[in-house]
C-alpha cells in the first residue's frame, strides 16, 4: 500500500483564513469569550485550539481558556487492534463544569474520535455546552455526530486520505488529499 498525492486542498493562506473565520463564528455563536474554553484533541487538535484561542483574544479582547485532551483510553476499538496506541497526557487545567467548551480537531471522519472525546470530557465534570470545531470534514460518518464549525467540507472516497500539516507539528501549514493505492 502506498500513498499517492492527489491534490492540495488548502494552502497556508487558506488554512489561516479558515481559522480566522471559525474564530469569528465561535465569538458570534457564544456572544463573546466569557466562560469559553477551547480543548484540542491530540495531536493536531492541540495547536488548532491554541491558534483559535489566540485569534479569539485578538478579536474579542480576552483569551479563552485552553486545554489538551487525549482520547486513547476512551477508544472503542482497544479490544480489537493489533498495535498499541501511545497514551498521552490530558491537560485540562480548569473545572469544565458549566463551561462552554469547543472541542477542536483537524479532521472529522467517522465521528468515533468525537464520541470518545465527549465521554472523556463528561468524566471530568458537566460542561454547560460542548461544541465541535474541525479544520476539514471529509464525510463518511459512522455515528450521529456533526461539527458546529468547519474549515472546509471535502467530499472524499474511503480510499482517499486527508493529511493536515501544521507549523507546530509538521513544520508548515497545509491540507493535502492523497490516495491509498494497492501495489499488488
Amino acid at each position: 500500500m502506498t500513498l499517492n498525492p492527489k491534490a492540495t486542498l488548502m494552502d497556508p493562506q487558506d488554512l489561516g483564513r479558515a481559522l480566522t473565520r471559525i474564530a469569528h463564528e465561535i465569538i458570534e455563536r457564544n456572544k463573546g469569550s466569557e466562560n469559553l474554553a477551547l480543548v484540542g484533541i491530540h495531536t493536531r487538535g492541540v495547536p488548532i485550539a491554541e491558534r483559535l484561542a489566540q485569534l479569539i483574544e485578538r478579536f474579542d479582547g480576552s483569551r479563552p481558556l485552553s486545554g489538551k485532551l487525549d482520547i486513547t483510553l476512551y477508544r472503542d476499538d482497544l479490544t480489537e487492534i493489533a498495535l498499541q496506541p501511545i497514551v498521552r497526557k490530558t491537560e485540562v487545567p480548569f473545572d469544565v463544569t458549566g463551561m462552554r467548551i469547543v472541542l477542536c480537531d483537524d479532521v472529522l471522519y467517522t465521528g468515533r474520535t468525537a464520541r470518545a472525546a465527549l465521554d472523556a470530557l463528561v468524566d471530568m465534570g458537566r460542561p454547560g455546552v460542548i461544541q465541535y470545531a474541525v479544520l476539514v470534514d471529509r464525510g463518511h460518518r459512522e455515528l450521529p455526530i456533526r461539527a458546529d464549525y468547519v474549515g472546509k467540507n471535502v467530499p472524499t472516497s474511503r480510499s482517499e486520505v486527508i493529511k493536515v500539516h501544521l507549523e507546530e507539528t509538521d513544520g508548515a501549514d497545509g491540507v493535502e488529499l492523497l490516495e491509498l493505492v494497492d501495489e499488488a
Binding site: 493536531r44 483510553l73 476512551y74 487492534i81 498499541q84 479532521v107 467517522t110 486520505v161 491509498l180
Partner: protein
Amino acid sequence: MTAAAAGAAGTRAPATPAAGSPPTKHPRHLLDLAGWSAEQVHALFDTSDVMAQVMTRTIKKVPALQGFTVGTLFFEDSTRTRLSFERAARAQSADVISFAAGGSSVSKGESLKDTIKTIDAMKADLYVVRHPAAGAPLQLTRWTDAAIVNAGDGRRAHPTQALLDAYTFRTAFPGYAGFEGVELAIVGDVAHSRVARSNVELWTKLGARVRLCGPRTLLPDELGGRPGVTLTHRVEEAVEGAHAVMALRLQSERMAGGLLPSLAEVRERYQVTRARMRLAHPDALVMHPGPMNRDVEIEGVLADEPRSVVERQVANGVPVRMAVLYTLLVGSR
C-alpha cells in the same frame, strides 16, 4: 501515516506507534524485567503518569480495558498486591476473576497445571500470578494463551513492585534528572527478597547503581557479581551518599534454620534510622515495600518523616499496574 490518515481502518489514531514510543515490541508477559529495555520501562512510566492523572479525578475510571478479563491467581498470601492489581484492572473497566489457593482445590491436591486449565476455561485475557515456587509464572505461559504478569514467584522476582519503586523515585526525588548516577541502597534480608532481586535488575538497567547491605547469612555473594552492584555488611557504607534507601523486612517464613540472626542484631546493626540517614544524600528518599515492622528494620519515627515515601509507593502501585495491564493487553489481538 498521520492521525488523520488512519481512516482506512475506520478509526482515527495511527496504527503505527507515534514518535517516542518503544522501538521494539515489549515482551508478551511480565515475568521479570530481563526482556524489557530501559526505553520500554520509561514508556511504561509515561503511561503510568497518565494513569496517575486518572486516579486524581472525581471519576477514577476509564473504559480502556472494557471487554478484557483479568484473572488474579494467588497461590501465596497477599493483600496489598492483589488489591492493587484488582483496582488497576477495574479502574480501566476490565472484569476481574479471583482465585486464592487457601481453601481452594489446591488444598485438595490439584496440580498447578490442572488448576490453570480449569481457570483458563473461564477465559481470561491475562493472569496475575503469585506462587511460592520460582518459575511457576513461566511454567504457566506454556499452559495458557493468556498473558502472564508475575506478582511474585518465590524469591526470584516481583517485577511490578520494582517498577512502582523506581516510578516512585522518578516522581518523588526532588529535581529528578534521571537514574544515571543514582545510588540505591537496599538494606536488610536481601537473600530471601524477590523485591531486592527485581530492583537490582531494574535500577541497574535504568543506569543507577545498587548497594546491597545485610548480615553475612542474608547477603548472597552471587548478587555482587553483577555490574553496578556492590555488597557491604556495614549499613553506614551502604547509606553514605545514597539517593534512596530501601529497608527490607526479615522474611522469617522463608528462612531455613540457622540463617536468622537475632532481632537484636538486626536492630542494632541494620536498622535504617534517622541518624544513619544523615549520611545519605540530603534529599534521599526512604522506601519500604511493606509490610513494615516498625523499629525492627526501620526506625518507626523515620517511616513518618516527609522523606519516607512508603505510602506513595502503595499509591503508585495502582497507576503502575494500570500501565502494565494496559501495555500487555491493548494491541495483543
